[in-house]
Symmetry: C2
Subunit: 675 residues, 2 copies
């Protein structure tokens, strides 16, 4: 069947094989324009799955773009959510929306999120992006069909790197156990994942044997041969008594000369050494869809840039306004250097690597989180680096085994995966055993940007804080991250450092005081030619109250925003703010917090996290003050019990109301109540 | 090699095959006495692994009981931590401690925890108990041997049910990838798990093919044939270039007539319809170790009972004392019915099952958490029950697929596994998709008892509260649990109900007001012939302040302790307490909390959870009161940032200072500051 009218049952369009081949070209072209316009996105894996996608959405599955929730439609689950652009162009081609819209990929509010959000576009079955989860959902959906005696088929698109995840094998076992012959999985076997070829990251072969032993029927095909694809999909339908997996052998980056079979082309936009536009031109030339002449491409890019301009305006309008613009680097007074905190981790892990006891473990995102600095300039350390793959449970366990034997292992990934996917392993194996495992809780917060909600950890403070034996630090900038990483390495026991991907202000210097477990007090003094020179920082134990009007208690890169807020509060309203930089969340500096509450009676907490994960800890410290005297006003700034979304990092900081401008506004409102 | 003197290298004792067979008998006998004395424990799985255990600890591995941390020792990781008694008797036989000590199994402070705690006994390599985690630790340990050019071997004991866990397959992949020929896994293939035969729970066969496809060398043996066992262990040592798995075909309950091959004998003490003692006698007769005459058995049981008496005394001494004894049911005034909250869940799920949309999913602990009530008296519902096995990630995903299609699926297990092991699945697949999945967060808190820390969830409130779209309820007794379960079933979206295993006081009646999202106010009025008649309960919205002296804010079965504390506070000190029963944690009843803070200025929070997981939320609500007026005293009672341990449920409630007596004492201390 194919795209049909769900009311009449009539096929709306029946493509020939040749037409599908042409459509796949068109889809590749749109895909490349969209990723170029976004400036980021998964070039390699979308191109490898594109022919399968065209076959599925334009020929194989029963669906009706005019009735996306039609109950008899076939269901396709994209477990490999990062391939979203391929899905979007397919939905566009099928008629769910104008295909030109896909060039708004990864832009704020466009719906074309970095990873699919099922509430934002028609035709999406699942919000996905955390690998290894789609197959189990497909199992549930297929079980439902059986229960309801429905004929719909269920498909699941899997990446090959994703097969590292144990949850895939749980789901595979389950599908076979229930003999789900209405379920077809398709593995995009392009042989590459982020950290290298799959067989180097963690060997998947003999892959056919694995699926067979897990009870599946296997069909192997050339994933770029349209006839073979269609044939396989038809054959899969006829297999009875067991689920079928189609292992589609593909080429990562297929169709774009400079991206084919290149490991580096996992998650980046087209660039072959030239500008984005020139790289796009080459890509389109390689793909060879004649429609994509300069006029069309310019038209599409203009849709994207016009949309972005609208977004820019709306975001700007959402910011509270003051007598002048205090944004970073708009004037020399607000001048700061910007550097991602992950770089500080990178410098520290490189230095720490001198110690033979220090081990680094990879979870297929080694370079981006700067774990690669451990060995990048030190090839002799490669024997102390163990790649485990996309298997956060196992990386945690292997690290535990090494820690048990006296090593100091570092594990790391996107924070949500390395503190959440492995939470029970952290609890029971790491913390209960008090193993000396160090966690690089990387790419934290909404500032991850265009990847969207699935990749933006906003729950790691609460997940880690309540674990006995855990230590947790959220340094404020790259320099402090370097110090904090050294600090956690020197602790004997589980410890995590939370850091981020995006460049944020450098607000400390090497000689800024730092002691793990103690807060820093930061005070705005007076305008200076650079931003950071306008501030004075002391250890909390060295600070004497100046009876400030209020206290801003912040952690991580939010400290920079708090400092800017202190600046604005003084310059605009003559209010003095004490800033507590709580770089160490566990153990937390209770005396510094209590003192601030007593001295100022007005506390604002600021976190790039679900609000209260940090703020409630502070409230709890203050509430347990045993003096019956201090009336207090308190407010908490953070993400308001919602998931993140795709957008530029600073756009997100603004729309999630985490900027100095918002802090200033909320502080002032609260201060009015104190007077 | 074997048990050796690590200083001289001399073998201390070299057992013959015949001697090992006899030793295994002795170990089985000790095992049965210990489990009988404990009153709970894993009869089936310890008996199935006992011959392998004897071979390993008395013959195969190099170790020195006089030097447990000897760096060249072979390492054995018990991934299947519930087989701990087998490990303990082996360590006793090997000389790590007097073997008679093992009869203190599962008793408070004895060190012989329900699941191994490596800090409490010599010879334990790993604190384990959450299944699926040991193999990865063994991989890390084996990698360390290679890195350090050490000859020690690494072993890992796996249950077969445990192979449901995907993390096992992650670790298996990793071990093969690194060609860890110094690693040997042993699968206790007894074919049974809690919910039934492994092949019915979730099919593992063809198991040999699975391990082979994952790159392992396989040796299959009769796990009760000592020669075969020794032979296999020797052969495994010679395999080069890949890890070896020994699949030991065993009989669950081996050696004890009434337990052999009986599914029910997973986690219970000997009882074949007769008393514990008679069942033990039969077991010992079956085992046939002549040493175990009545004199010896009585001697051992006396060690256990004497020890328990000492514990009883110490626990009793730790309780704050008052003019009289206010413990549950010691007088008619304190008379309550006791029932586990899980029964309330059972009644609700049975009733809810009438709705064809309601689905129940099993995670191999279906009956104990009362999920079986869904189908127990309703065989026609069996088609709506899906057993998934020990695969909490997958059960969450399958439920999501069903919820997506309009079903109302319930998943459940020990809380730590069904909210922690699957945390990222809950976050990304369930909550981000806002799927209508219901979570039975069962066996929560330290009151789980003898299983110990690994099974006592104390972090689920914080893990769930900060998840957008989640709903969370902690009902106070079995009756309220029934109401709460109905309440979460009627919500559209993710929702969890936390309940417990142990019987706790019934403190509500069917007509007690209950509204999801609203707190109840409970007030002690005057002595009545029954405990609960002495109290009045209203919805928070129906309550008018009586300017009480203090407020006790509690959740779950801690509400009963708070009520008893209110009773004591009034009778002993003439203090009036308002009790807030916060059965709904998310969304939380902010007005009720703020009102209590304003009216009484003194708040004590009480949670059977890491302290602050609940208390800090309350503190956060109060702190954000926008009035600048109320001085406040606050204290939080909970588990003080530590893991639980093995013991009787009420013993643990006492030593973790969670009783009314402790609440009373802390309330009074705080109240003195208010005056």
């Amino acid at each position: 069947m194919s795209i049909i009218n769900s009311k009449t049952g009539k096929v709306k369009k029946d493509y020939t094989v040749e037409e599908l081949v042409e459509k796949a070209k068109e889809m590749r072209a749109y895909n490349m324009v969209a990723i170029t316009a976004a400036g980021s996105g998964h070039t390699g894996g979308t191109l490898s799955i594109m022919d399968v996608t065209a076959a599925l959405y334009l020929k194989e599955i029963n669906h009706d773009p005019a009735n996306p929730d039609w109950e008899d439609r076939d269901r396709v689950f994209w477990s490999a959510g990062h391939k979203a652009p391929a899905l979007y162009v397919a939905l566009g081609e099928a008629g769910y929306f104008s295909i030109d819209e896909v060039v708004k990929l990864r832009k704020l509010w466009s719906g074309f999120e970095g990873h699919p959000n099922r509430f934002k576009l028609p035709g999406l079955e699942l919000s996905s992006g955390s690998l290894g989860q789609g197959l189990g959902v497909a199992v549930g959906c297929a079980l439902n069909a059986r229960l309801e005696k429905k004929d719909y088929r269920t498909f699941c698109i899997l990446g090959d790197g994703e097969l590292d995840e144990g949850s895939i094998w749980e789901s595979a076992m389950s599908a076979a156990h229930y003999k789900l012959d209405n379920l077809t999985a398709i593995v995009d076997r392009n042989d590459l994942q982020i950290d290298g070829p799959t067989e180097e990251v963690t060997r998947l072969e003999p892959l056919v044997d694995k699926w067979q032993a897990f009870g599946w029927h296997i069909i192997e095909i050339d994933g770029h041969d349209m006839k073979e694809i269609l044939n396989a999909l038809e054959k899969a339908e006829k297999v009875k008594g067991q689920p079928t997996v189609i292992i589609a052998h593909t080429v990562k980056g297929k169709g774009v000369s400079y991206a084919e079979n290149i490991v580096g082309y996992h998650g980046i936009a087209p660039k072959d050494g030239r500008s984005g536009k020139e790289s796009l031109d080459q890509a389109l030339k390689d793909i060879g869809d004649p429609q994509f002449n300069q006029g069309k491409v310019d038209h599409l890019l203009k849709i994207a840039s016009d949309y972005q301009k609208e977004v820019d305006q709306k975001v700007e309008d959402s910011l509270p306004k003051f007598s002048r613009d205090y944004w970073w680097n708009v004037t020399s007074l607000m001048q700061v250097q910007m550097e991602p905190t992950r770089n500080g981790f990178g410098r520290a892990i490189e230095e720490l690597g001198k110690d033979e006891k220090v081990i680094a473990l990879g979870a297929d995102i080694t370079s981006s989180i700067r774990m690669d600095k451990f060995y990048a300039s030190h090839p002799e350390r490669k024997n102390r680096f163990f790649e485990i793959g996309i298997a956060e449970a196992n990386v945690t366990l292997v690290a535990s085994g090494l820690a048990k034997e006296g090593k100091i292992p570092f594990i790391g990934s996107y924070g949500v995966f390395i503190t959440g996917r492995n939470w029970d392993q952290l609890r029971t194996t790491v913390c209960y055993n008090n193993f000396n495992v160090k966690i690089a809780d990387a790419h934290a917060g909404v500032s991850v940007g265009a990847d969207g909600a699935t990749h933006q950890t906003l729950e790691d403070i609460s997940n880690l804080y309540y674990l006995p034996n855990m230590h947790l630090t959220l340094p404020c900038d790259a320099i402090e991250t370097e110090k904090a990483t050294h600090a956690i390495a020197s602790i004997n026991g589980p410890a995590a450092v939370r850091y981020a991907r995006e460049a944020t202000p450098i607000i400390t210097i090497n000689t800024t005081p730092y002691r793990f477990g103690l807060a820093n007090v930061v005070r705005y003094r007076t305008k200076k030619k650079n931003f950071i020179e306008a501030f004075e920082t002391r250890l909390s134990t060295d600070y004497r109250s100046e009876k400030e009007d209020l206290t801003l208690i912040a952690c991580g890169p939010m400290v920079a925003e708090a400092m800017r807020a202190a600046y604005i509060l003084k310059e605009e309203y003559n209010l003095e703010s004490r800033i507590l930089n709580i770089h160490t969340i566990k153990p937390i500096d209770k005396p510094a917090i209590l003192k601030a509450a007593e001295d100022t009676n007005l506390i604002i907490t600021i976190e790039e996290h679900q609000v209260g994960g940090f703020g409630n800890i502070i409230a709890g410290v203050i509430a347990q003050n045993k003096k019956y005297s201090t009336p207090l006003l308190m407010d908490m700034i953070g993400v308001e019990d919602r998931f993140g979304e795709s957008g530029e990092p600073w756009e997100l900081t603004k729309i999630f109301a985490l900027t100095a401008e918002h802090i200033t506004q909320r502080s002032r409102e609260l201060y009015k109540k104190k007077k």
